[in-house]
Subunit: 243 residues, 2 copies
Amino acid sequence: MAQTCIRHAGQPCVVCHVGRRSDWQDFDQTASALLSSGRRRREYGSGELVFAQGEPNDGVHCVSGGTVGIRRLDDNGNSVLLELAYPGDTIGYRSFLTGSEHKTSAEALGPSVVCHIDRATIAALLAGNPALGLRFLKRSIGELEHAHDMMFRQATLSNRHKLVHLLLVLVGRHGRRHSNGSQSIDLPVSRRDLASMIGTRHETISRIIGRLEIDGVAHFSGRQVTIPNVAMLAAEIDCLIQA
Amino acid sequence: MAQTCIRHAGQPCVVCHVGRRSDWQDFDQTASALLSSGRRRREYGSGELVFAQGEPNDGVHCVSGGTVGIRRLDDNGNSVLLELAYPGDTIGYRSFLTGSEHKTSAEALGPSVVCHIDRATIAALLAGNPALGLRFLKRSIGELEHAHDMMFRQATLSNRHKLVHLLLVLVGRHGRRHSNGSQSIDLPVSRRDLASMIGTRHETISRIIGRLEIDGVAHFSGRQVTIPNVAMLAAEIDCLIQA
DNA sequence: GAGCAAAATTGACGATCATCAACGACGCTC
DNA sequence: GAGCGTCGTTGATGATCGTCAATTTTGCTC
């Protein structure tokens, strides 16, 4: 996962090589050189913080491998997992652009690889490559629409349907297809985080999982989830749309 | 509210004159002339749509007067009010920048004035004024952080606390201060929309309002709300933060 | 002002949830 | 391996919520 693959200049972020999904591509030779010198690649263990809520911004990060959770905390110990970031995703760009401290924490949800680009380098890249700012804008808009979808689901779906939807999204990201048509996921998050993503308590998640087991639409074993028939699970939500 | 106030070129959007809050300022003379020719100002009655979900984008709108609600609908008739836009706010820029159809509807929540800038004009302005793109980016980031706040509250606050928080926000926007220290609001939204913003049903909103009345922290009469002691209402939420 | 449609309220009921508590499972450190 | 803390599950209980339904109020049109 953490293989290094140096390509020639002009390629997307020559180390990360996440291809299409990266914001760091289509640079000319000088920009590529700038990026190469201002970039630091680092591995993170499960649970390690890439940056912490409240910290001053020290540049921008780009996920190269693994999964990074974007989390918000409050003084009461509440924690909500707001987003999941995957290879190619740029994180920490908001506080960089607004010049404020980080408003969320970024935590490796498993062994991950994240590149860091320092402030001076991004500032120089942004100044010379207006397309980079535009890609940040597109990324921000994409995240905003994702947040709006979330808010809409929070207001219209039951907790069970919210969990089903989340499982379907995670199957799309992390799913492995088996020969008998079933699919498996290794959940990248704990039950508590699962609960926070849905807006309920972890005990409730336990009970909903129990009901999904009884109904035979999903089988849970630790963080491993097996879904015998993804289409049937999806039908639970789709029937709402057509009904 | 709908007064026209033509200033000289170089000022923020010469008609809208919403000042600091506008994205359409600091233009040179050619850009200002471009904006003047590509802009159309229009009044909307209560309930009228500025643009509708699913429609192709036909440019960008800028709120000049009144209040505009950003709403998402689904096929089941569910409606969720996602944001409120006030004078100075630019709306509809997301679908313009992503080249997609509108993913939300924008509806005048009362008599409002909204300017429209057509696609060609924005494209030209964006090409000549990189600062405009940056302001869109800042706006997008601001909305995203607002959405994250919302998601966090959805996951951690009770419905009553969510309503109290919403009331406090609306007091800040629409509140009138009285001599005896109390404050009044004319709610810009219906109870149904209030409910959708909180993620519950309108019957539940009715009951929560009833309890707020009993507790004497707020008095409701139609869309008019009087809050005897705003600090006491705010304390309901603050006690959670310090506790 | 009459008439109508939508909004808002209220009641009753069952379903769901949050909370507190207890317990087993798991991972980690020493 | 013992100890410890976190995570996950399960149970019991009271509170809250969603739904259906009936009714009143409001706002708008004609």
